[in-house]
């Protein structure tokens, strides 16, 4: 009997899933991505979300926003297009209502995803959110393809991305991750510009600009014509960009894009990610992030991984 128990212990040695992002320790690297987890509330009835490493809340702006007209959603092979257009209640309501409500069922530091239409808006929102005790990391979305600032988003030029980074860093004390757009020729130049401008980390990728047409109606499915494409279909692009950026930068990378299994998390970490975000998967399977956290130890054992932090960028 004792033999047997020992054998089982050997078969299932303790694994260490914890990772550290700029001084913020996560129990595990699994982080639901912004826009797919609301402010946490919709998921608390499905499961206790304290099992997560953290989560990134819905992209928040200075003013409340309704977002784009509907339809905002289109189905794709192995993915979806969204053109929500940053619908959110505005930074005031988030601080006054969402964060206090979140505190009742989530006791870990949350990742605050901030968006804006001007450098000043980014700075204003980040400065305010930086003061919130519950916030562990600030994630600055310079990449949303639905939102235009003179046509192009901040995330498509190294200069503009660096300018936002500098402005935000000047008014914050918490680690700032810049979340990049994949819709660019040279992701590395943009990541490095952010790093040089003082970013504490990089998160990538946001959605790719995509489009579907309703062939029966002969017009775009999405009211806004195009939208952000994500889901398992984009995984190989995300892995590539995480790899390129983590090789070129010294700051940590949060990987995101198409992750739907514990294996995907491990692959993303081997590509160079310190933490891994799960986006659209939460929408089609509300338990996705929980199931990934639960599957990680088994997958680690199968692959001979004792500490997840050991495999970051190993490929």
């Amino acid at each position: 009997m004792v033999e047997k128990v020992r054998e089982q212990e050997n078969a299932a040695p303790a694994v260490d899933m914890s990772v550290e992002l700029c001084g913020v320790r996560l129990d595990n690297p699994v982080v639901p991505a912004s826009g797919t987890f609301g402010y946490g509330y919709e998921f608390k009835d499905f499961y206790d979300i304290n099992i997560l490493g953290s989560f990134s809340f819905k992209g928040t702006t200075r003013e409340p926003r309704f977002g784009n007209p509907t339809p905002r959603i289109a189905e794709c092979t192995a993915g979806m297009i969204n053109a929500v257009g940053l619908q959110n209640p505005g930074i005031d309501a988030v601080i006054r209502h969402e964060l206090p409500r979140l505190r009742q069922f989530f006791r870990k530091p949350v990742i605050a995803n901030i968006s804006g239409f001007s450098v000043e808006e980014y700075a204003y929102c980040c400065e305010r959110i930086d003061k919130q005790e519950q916030v562990g990391i600030i994630e600055v979305n310079v990449s949303c393809p639905n939102v235009r600032h003179g046509g192009m988003s901040f995330g498509t030029s190294p200069e503009a991305a660096a300018e936002v980074t500098r402005a935000v860093k000047a008014v914050t004390t918490k680690p700032v991750f810049i979340k990049l757009s994949p819709n660019v020729t040279d992701i590395v130049s943009i990541a490095r510009a952010c790093e040089e401008a003082g970013a504490d980390g990089i998160c990538l990728i946001n959605t790719l600009l995509g489009m579907r047409i309703d062939v029966a109606r002969r017009r775009p499915v999405i009211a806004n014509t195009m939208g952000g494409f994500s889901g398992p279909a984009v995984f190989p692009l995300a892995v590539r960009m995480v790899y390129q950026v983590s090789k070129a930068c010294r700051i940590p990378v949060m990987g995101c894009g198409g992750v739907q299994s514990a294996r995907d998390v491990i692959e993303m970490m081997m590509a160079g990610a310190t933490a891994v975000q799960v986006g659209a998967a939460n929408l089609v399977n509300p338990y996705a992030s929980k199931e990934i956290v639960e599957a990680l130890p088994g997958e680690m054992r199968r692959l001979g991984i004792e500490r997840l932090s050991d495999i970051i960028g190993i490929a």
Partner: protein, 246 residues
């Protein structure tokens, strides 16, 4: 409250050329109101498919769906014994907590199904139920007899006049001189809009929108109402007449 569960198909049968009825066995405790919907995962399809609950009891859900694309086509090919992954208990559903005495139920096409469970509930509460069903043509009619069998007074309208009153549900309501003090409606947008404009009485209407999640997480389905933004999947699909903005 909403939950994810596995449901076993008991029956899957054709009602008309394109409309099917599926009954599923499984946990129904999260379904609390008629007009709520389920969200169905299908093999090879990324997003789930939202379908209204037509009726339910302890352990059984009835859905009625029209084959319009690849997802519903796949559903029509499933056979008894097959299992489906469903989110149940989604949406607000119709609220019967009002002092209406003579409710009118107005359904168009595949907007008809959720009214069936509603009719059953209203009848159980002792109210006489007036039902108007609109279809394009006689061949597309379904559930007329089922509503009658429940004890409803049913009027049918067809756009081409091949059965019942020729015209739309609004024609039928006006023409039949129906007596009601409240309405519940589900159907295509033009029908709902026409109804809104045609009747003075208060009521509730169920809406559709393309959905990313079905449980309030993605903001994919938001509409504007007089009382602020509402997610069709969560604060809807049923809206009060008084809050609707067209």
């Amino acid at each position: 409250m909403y939950k994810k569960g596995i449901y076993r198909i008991e029956r899957n049968e054709r009602l008309t050329e394109t409309v099917w009825r599926m009954t599923l066995a499984g946990d129904t405790q999260w379904i609390t109101a008629p007009g709520q919907f389920v969200n169905i995962a299908l093999t090879g399809k990324y997003l789930r498919r939202p379908i209204s609950v037509c009726d339910w009891d302890e352990g059984r859900i009835t859905l009625i769906y029209k084959v319009v694309g690849e997802g519903t086509e796949q559903m029509s090919r499933l056979t008894p014994g097959a299992e489906l992954d469903l989110l149940t208990g989604l949406g607000n559903g119709f609220s019967t907590k009002n002092d209406a005495r003579r409710p009118l139920l107005v359904g168009g096409g595949v907007g008809v199904p959720p009214l069936y469970g509603l009719a059953r509930q209203l009848l159980a509460a002792g109210k006489p139920v007036e039902v108007v069903l609109g279809f394009n043509t006689a061949a597309e009619i379904f559930y007329e007899e089922e509503f009658r069998a429940l004890g409803c007074n049913v009027t049918v309208a067809t756009a081409d006049g091949s059965r019942g009153i020729e015209g739309f549900v609004t024609t039928a309501i006006a023409g039949a001189g129906l007596d009601f003090d409240y309405f519940y409606a589900c159907g295509p947008l033009p029908m709902l809009h026409a109804l809104y404009n045609a009747v003075e009485q208060d009521g509730q209407m169920s809406f559709e929108e393309r959905m990313g999640c079905g449980f309030g997480a993605c903001m994919g389905c938001t509409c504007k109402t007089k009382y602020g933004n509402k997610r069709i999947c969560r604060e809807g699909p049923v809206l009060q007449k008084g809050e609707i903005i067209w």
